[in-house]
């Protein structure tokens, strides 16, 4: 009998020592420095820079300010994280820095080759001189028909003059960049100097001075520039939009009489513009050599995917040409970065379900000369608010 009881007591001892509750935590040190020789950031107060640590597996995020040495330490649960740092100074200069998608464990940061490195990240600030033309609002999720079906024709992008002098919209190009959605496993173009357009690229027409945009004015570009009030729960009348994404022969695109169509300068693939309903990365840009010269030089700008010599070719945009860009992602967990830090250091995402009829819209920072001045630190997590009711500033 004693022999029979021995295994049981052994099992008891083993199981008693099996369960041990622990606080699993990891320490991360972040060091941020200003670029050498940049006069705009001389004497910069680093303690104004807020550093945000976003866990990509869930919605937990933490923040802290840098100390005088430009350092900050976080003690958090191990996980896949993004670091986002930004500040906007009274001089109008904004700075940002970021590092995306790294694995922080109890032992350190995991390198690309699986090696364990010291849990310390060093970043250099990007310095951004304010750009007057900004994207104020993006409505990409769509809504529902009055019968309850999904509806995506009532979407739009709004451009705003955030500066003090009139800007001309003529030849401003609009597109989303590749990959179409942030849910893709990886981005082959990450950390490159040029960014591939996702399919079609559109341009505002004009002779150079045909479409002025005064300070505080908006320009709404509608996917279907028609009246949706009797079709969709969003109730938008986009027949009053300034431009429409329209060309004869495209499927699903509509435009009301009197609304000028944008010009499709790059045809892309498919018979309709693929404007992601979950996670578009939207950019407005102006090629420095002019649109005609840009299109004439396909050998330079139309390229295969990195590492490939066949398959689909993608038209590329130099990151310096980008006037503004907003990285809309599906969630913190599904947020493959497509835009460089100098364009958007972070990302914004919706908490509402698709087709909820909500938008991402920029925060107001100030009122100058009676005009709203919107926050523009090139960090959409700080500059934008998600899940807002659409408020396009349409033509009267």
């Amino acid at each position: 009998m004693r022999r029979l009881l021995l295994p049981l007591f052994a099992l008891l001892l083993i199981t008693t020592s099996c369960l041990e509750e622990i606080d699993t935590k990891a320490t991360l040190k972040i060091k941020i420095s200003a670029p050498q020789g940049n006069i705009a950031v001389e004497g910069l107060d680093l303690t104004e820079i807020e550093v945000k640590l976003q866990n990509k597996s869930n919605a937990f995020s933490y923040s802290n300010h840098l100390d005088n040495n430009g350092e900050v330490t976080f003690v958090v649960q191990p996980g896949k994280y993004d670091v986002l740092a930004s500040a906007q100074y009274n001089t109008g200069v904004s700075v940002n820095a970021s590092k995306s998608e790294f694995l922080l464990t109890e032992d350190g940061i995991i390198g690309d080759d699986g090696s364990v490195n010291v849990a310390e990240i060093s970043l250099e600030l990007n310095v951004n001189i304010p750009n007057p033309l900004i994207i104020r609002e993006i409505y990409y999720q769509g809504s529902s028909t009055l019968e309850g079906k999904s509806y995506t024709k009532d979407r739009y992008i709004e451009i705003y003059n955030n500066g003090l002098i009139t800007q001309y919209l003529d030849s401003i190009c609009v597109t989303t960049v590749y990959p179409y959605n942030s849910t893709t496993g990886s981005n082959s173009w990450a950390d490159k100097d040029t960014i591939p357009a996702a399919g079609m690229v559109w341009m505002i027409p004009g002779n150079g001075t045909q479409y002025p945009l005064a300070p505080g004015e908006s320009c709404v570009l509608a996917y279907c520039a028609v009246d949706h009030t009797q079709r969709a729960t969003s109730g938008l009348n986009l027949a009053k939009a300034h431009f429409g994404f329209y060309e004869d022969g495209l499927t699903g695109h509509e435009i009301a009489a009197g609304v000028p169509p944008l010009i499709r300068i790059i045809a892309g693939l498919g018979s309709a513009w693929s404007f992601s309903i979950s996670s578009p990365a939207v950019v407005i840009f102006r090629p420095e050599m002019g649109v005609a010269n840009y299109l004439a030089n396909a050998a330079t700008w139309e390229l295969f995917e990195p590492g490939k010599t066949s398959g689909t070719k993608y038209w590329h945009i130099a990151k310096e040409w980008i006037l503004d860009g907003v990285e809309c992602v599906q969630s913190a967990a599904k947020s493959v970065k497509r835009l460089p830090t100098s364009v958007d250091a972070s990302y914004i995402y919706m908490n509402s379900a698709s087709y909820s009829g909500k938008v991402v819209t920029r925060k107001v920072k100030d009122i100058i000369n009676g005009n709203e001045v919107f926050q523009d630190t090139n960090n959409s997590a700080e500059d934008f608010i998600s899940d807002q009711v659409p408020s396009p500033r349409l033509k009267n």
Partner: protein, 522 residues
């Protein structure tokens, strides 16, 4: 295996042996006389020798119909549920071998079932689930066989084998299909003398539950939720690439029994330790792990009886469960050229501790083991639970205690060839606790956002409010037994019972249960 079990189960009831008193037997009377039968050690089947030497076998087979409905329910419960099933239990002796066998099957239709991502949502903190309520079907099979082989006068060895299978399917987008299979084996041994019986058994339980979601109508986007415990979640639009999950568990059990028989005193004790390892993977081949749960449970059951009239029962169970999430990254495996998940850290993110106890006293006006006029039971039970989700430096904790008192009475009205048993029962319970306490262990860094972005507050509160609700229940069971052939012990019975749960001080409604059973014993 199934075929062999079914064959034996069908064979057992036809072992017809005459016994004068057999028509007065019931499962309840058999286990009252042999408390060891309630343990998981099937070697204790031999302890029913004194009964089986008289009746040789006893079988209870019934078909039943259940209906429950009402708004007073837990979040995982459907608005109403209809169940039909059959249940066959049999104790018998073939030569020197003692046999227990059971076969049960039931089919349920559930109306507006929601948040039920697992057949038993309380078995692990990790669950993939959708939020849209819908009608569902639930099928359960249960097969069991216990055998006891005497080894001389003092020792008996035995083994108990169970196979459970279940299928749960919601019939509205997102459609899900859960398939559960569970196999249990418990070898055991007992040593018996006139005064003392001791026993021990080991147990191994292996189960799998496959969870699969699919979308039929794609005109609107549907969402799948990953729940990590305490209603912490993340959600994503439905994708056919992330709709499969495989849950696997292994459980290891050890139990000791001690029974003392001193004249009219009978004192039976059973102490069990159960260690469980539960893991959820995507489909089992690419190393993606959704979460592990390790659980350790100690359980004590004791029954003290004096003569035929008095019985004091007590049980206590303490359990600790730790949940782990993995930090993984998808990497290309150069050997297979396939992307696989590589694990870099394991995080203890969930902890739950619980303690349950029950104590009751039963008095029977018994003139013999089988001749009972009435019986009354009074008792109390309590549950204490503390659970927390941890994401350093934060922790989200819930704790509560629920205590209930209950009383029941059964009166047997004997007639010439029949018996009527009336059983009214009542209970009253109440609980208190804290639904959600968010604590910060390190305040040198700011935590951004509110709890709504990480946990489903509405669902957490709905469940908590139900679990601690003050409620009163009243029920009545009426059983009519007709002794068709007393000389062989062949009885037919009909059973009708109803029960209502009434929340006190709340106007959310009731929960009503009705059960009808028709069966026979022989």
């Amino acid at each position: 295996m199934k075929k062999v079990l079914i064959y034996i189960l069908l064979l057992v009831p036809f072992v017809v042996l005459e016994a004068q008193e057999k028509s007065d037997y019931s499962i309840d009377k058999l286990t009252w006389h042999n408390p060891g039968l309630k343990s998981q050690n099937s070697a204790y089947l031999r302890m029913s020798e004194s009964d089986l030497s008289k009746i040789n076998s006893f079988t209870d087979a019934g078909i039943y119909f259940n209906y429950e409905e009402g708004k007073f329910k837990n979040i995982f419960d459907p608005e109403s549920q209809i169940t039909g099933g059959l249940d066959i239990n049999s104790y018998s002796k073939l030569g020197k071998i003692y046999i227990y066998s059971r076969f049960a099957y039931d089919y349920s239709h559930l109306s507006n079932s929601k948040w039920r991502g697992l057949l038993n949502p309380y078995s692990t903190p990790f669950m993939m689930v959708d939020s849209i309520p819908g009608n569902a079907s639930l099928e359960m099979y249960h097969m069991e066989m216990g055998l006891a082989f005497p080894l001389g006068e003092k020792f008996t060895i035995g083994t108990d084998i169970k196979y459970n299978a279940g299928m749960y399917a919601k019939k509205r987008d997102l459609h899900n299909k859960n398939t559960l299979m569970d196999f249990e084996i418990r070898p055991g041994i007992t040593y018996n003398s006139e005064i003392v019986n001791v026993g021990m058994n080991l147990g191994y339980i292996r189960g799998t539950e496959k969870i699969e979601y699919m979308q039929v109508d794609a005109s609107t986007e549907k969402y799948l939720f990953d729940i990590y415990g305490m209603w912490m979640y993340s959600s994503l639009g439905f994708s056919s690439a992330e709709n499969l999950r495989l849950r696997e568990y292994d459980k290891y059990e050890g139990a000791v029994q001690f029974e003392l028989n001193l004249n009219d005193f009978k004192f039976f004790n059973n102490f069990t330790v159960l260690y469980s390892l539960d893991t959820q993977t995507e489909t089992g081949y690419n190393n993606l792990i959704h979460g592990d749960a390790d659980q350790l449970t100690y359980n004590y059951n004791g029954t003290l009886q004096y003569g035929l009239k008095h019985r004091l029962s007590a049980s206590y169970s303490a359990s600790e469960l730790l949940g782990y999430r993995y930090l993984q990254r998808q990497e290309l495996d150069p050997a297979s050229n396939v992307k696989k998940w590589v694990t870099y850290d394991k995080m203890n993110c969930y902890v739950s501790t619980s303690a349950d106890w029950n104590a009751d006293y039963t008095f029977r006006q018994a003139f013999s083991q089988l001749n009972i006029s009435w019986a009354a039971t009074i008792g109390a039970r309590s549950t204490k639970l503390k659970r927390a989700y941890k994401a350093y430096p934060q922790s989200f904790t819930q704790n509560f205690r629920y205590t209930e008192a209950y009383i029941s009475f059964v009166k047997y009205l004997k007639m010439k060839n029949s018996e009527l048993a009336l059983t009214p029962e009542f209970s009253y319970g109440s609980g208190d606790g804290v639904a959600l306490d968010i604590a910060l262990k390190d305040n040198t860094q700011n935590v951004l956002g509110d709890s709504n972005s990480v946990l489903l507050n509405e669902q957490l509160n709905e469940e908590f409010n139900y679990l601690i609700s003050t409620k009163f229940s009243a029920g009545l069971n009426v059983r009519y037994t007709y002794k068709v052939k007393p000389s062989t012990g062949f009885n037919i019975y009909g059973d009708l019972s109803g029960k209502t749960f009434i929340p006190v001080g709340d106007e959310i409604g009731l929960r009503n249960f009705v059960r009808m059973t028709i069966g026979f014993t022989f």
